[in-house]
Amino acid sequence: MGVMLSLIAVLVIVLVPLAGSQVSGLQYVFGVFFPYAGFAVLLAGFVFKVLNWAKSPVPFRIPTTAGQEFSLPWIKQAKLDNPSTTTGVIGRMAFEILAFRSLFRNTKAELRSGNLIYGPAKWLWLGALAFHWAFFIIAVRHLRLFVQPIPGWVEFLDKIDSIMQIGTPPVYITDVLLIGGVTFLLLRRLLIPRVRYISLPADYFPLFLILAIGTTGILMRFFIRTDIVAVKSLLVGLATFHPFIPKNVGAIFFIHATLVSVLMAYFPFSKLMHLGGIFLSPTRNLANNNRMVRHVNPWSYPVKVHTYDEYEDEFRDLMKGAGIPVERE
């Protein structure tokens, strides 16, 4: 059910601009209004969400320790997996965010013909990594369409990405990785029963959405060509806050733009916020120096305890009888 609903939702998002962009005047909605609105919601929503998280304090220091702690001088500490310093934490976070360290941990040992062989079960890690990096590079690469002149490093990135030189225009490696990655993540959800069991509409929807974005983008580059110069002038117009709709921009562009706008607007209200959350995750971004540096709980309040005096009052006779020293005879 979740799958069908999500798919239908995405199809609707495709069909609306497909039909709408034929109507003159409405192009402005899909090409200017939606992108601006989407971006505004993304920005405001993201900031709001992160501030909202940050509003809740971190009362306790609770890192998940994944290796030997800082201990006696002759015991080797796992400085990245169990950091006790800020540098260590930065290293740990970098590995976590850039290389998905925890997912990488998914090792397994296999019993093949009686011998234990430790092999990686790293498909999820690989698929996720390919997808996220590809998405990031594609997003950065799109800067080319928003600024004039194009910065040298963006050109360079573009060149590297199309280094395979297959076809005209050349195929981007990241396009292949993105579509491959999303497809893998989607198939995984559909085919592995335990992953299907945990999946909600909110899991399928972004996958379909991103798949649609990727597909329309590729279609635009290779099959349903549209006037790239016109597209660029539209986007530069958006970026410089002089929006206008040039002639010769095909419907495919408006579909692509609408899909991206929806993704941006959807982002802050969804699980996609894991992008921001990972930075704030208390089990990862804190040093395991609990016994070395006191962590202060901002909402700590005095609690009722059973004091020693109360204890001794209750048990004084028993204590004296057993020869245990007491404060007051």
């Binding site: 397994k108 040992a109 296999e110 019993l111 093949r112 234990l116 592995i192 029963p193 335990r194 299907r196 069991y197």
Partner: protein, 188 residues
């Protein structure tokens, strides 16, 4: 023993395991049958390693005592899982189904096997089923012994007669010790 079936041992074993795994929720079933690592999947790998030797013995001498350890591997796990007793020990009845699957898969299957062979095989399977039942009962008794030992090792609780069943029944916090058709005999 009938050669035709013996040659198809590994296929029968596969079908048998599939049927056993189908007694688990489907979300778990694929995991149990696909993940081969002994440590990442203790249930599945235990069943996998036990099925071969059990079939070997069944098609050979047919003496369940020889492979008691392997039957134990499977039953010991199922004895503490969410099964009714009958479902927990159903594995050899599922084997019958798996063998019939194999026979009906190919047309010649039914022709090549003599009725007397089938009857003999099924009797042997029955024998294994009874052995499985014995093991199941042994495991369940073991659980209760462990539970009881655990219970009496807790003097601080008993010192106040706190967890004594009669106290709890009086307080309405547990129901009577007795037989409940659905759950079996239990102190709930």
């Amino acid at each position: 023993m009938n050669n035709w079936l013996f040659e198809r041992k590994s296929s029968i074993s596969e079908g048998w395991l599939r049927r056993i795994f189908e007694t688990y929720p489907p979300e778990a079933a694929t995991f149990l049958s696909n993940q081969n690592d002994r440590f990442a999947n203790p249930i599945g790998s235990a069943f996998l390693s036990a099925a071969g030797p059990i079939l070997e013995e069944l098609f050979g001498e047919g003496n369940p005592e020889t492979v008691e350890g392997f039957i134990d591997e499977i039953i010991r796990i199922r004895a503490v899982q969410d099964f009714r007793p009958s479902d927990a020990v159903s594995i050899f009845f599922l084997l019958k189904l798996a063998i019939r699957d194999e026979m009906t898969k190919e047309k010649e299957g039914q022709d090549k096997i003599k009725t007397e062979d089938i009857l003999f095989l099924e009797s042997k399977i029955d024998k294994f089923s009874l052995a499985a039942f014995d093991i199941y009962m042994k495991c369940r008794e073991r659980v209760w012994e462990i539970r009881f030992n655990d219970f009496i090792k807790r003097p601080f609780v008993l010192s106040e007669a706190a967890m004594c069943p009669s106290y709890l029944i009086k307080k309405g916090m547990i129901k009577d010790v007795g037989f409940d058709g659905e759950k079996g005999c239990s102190l709930s």
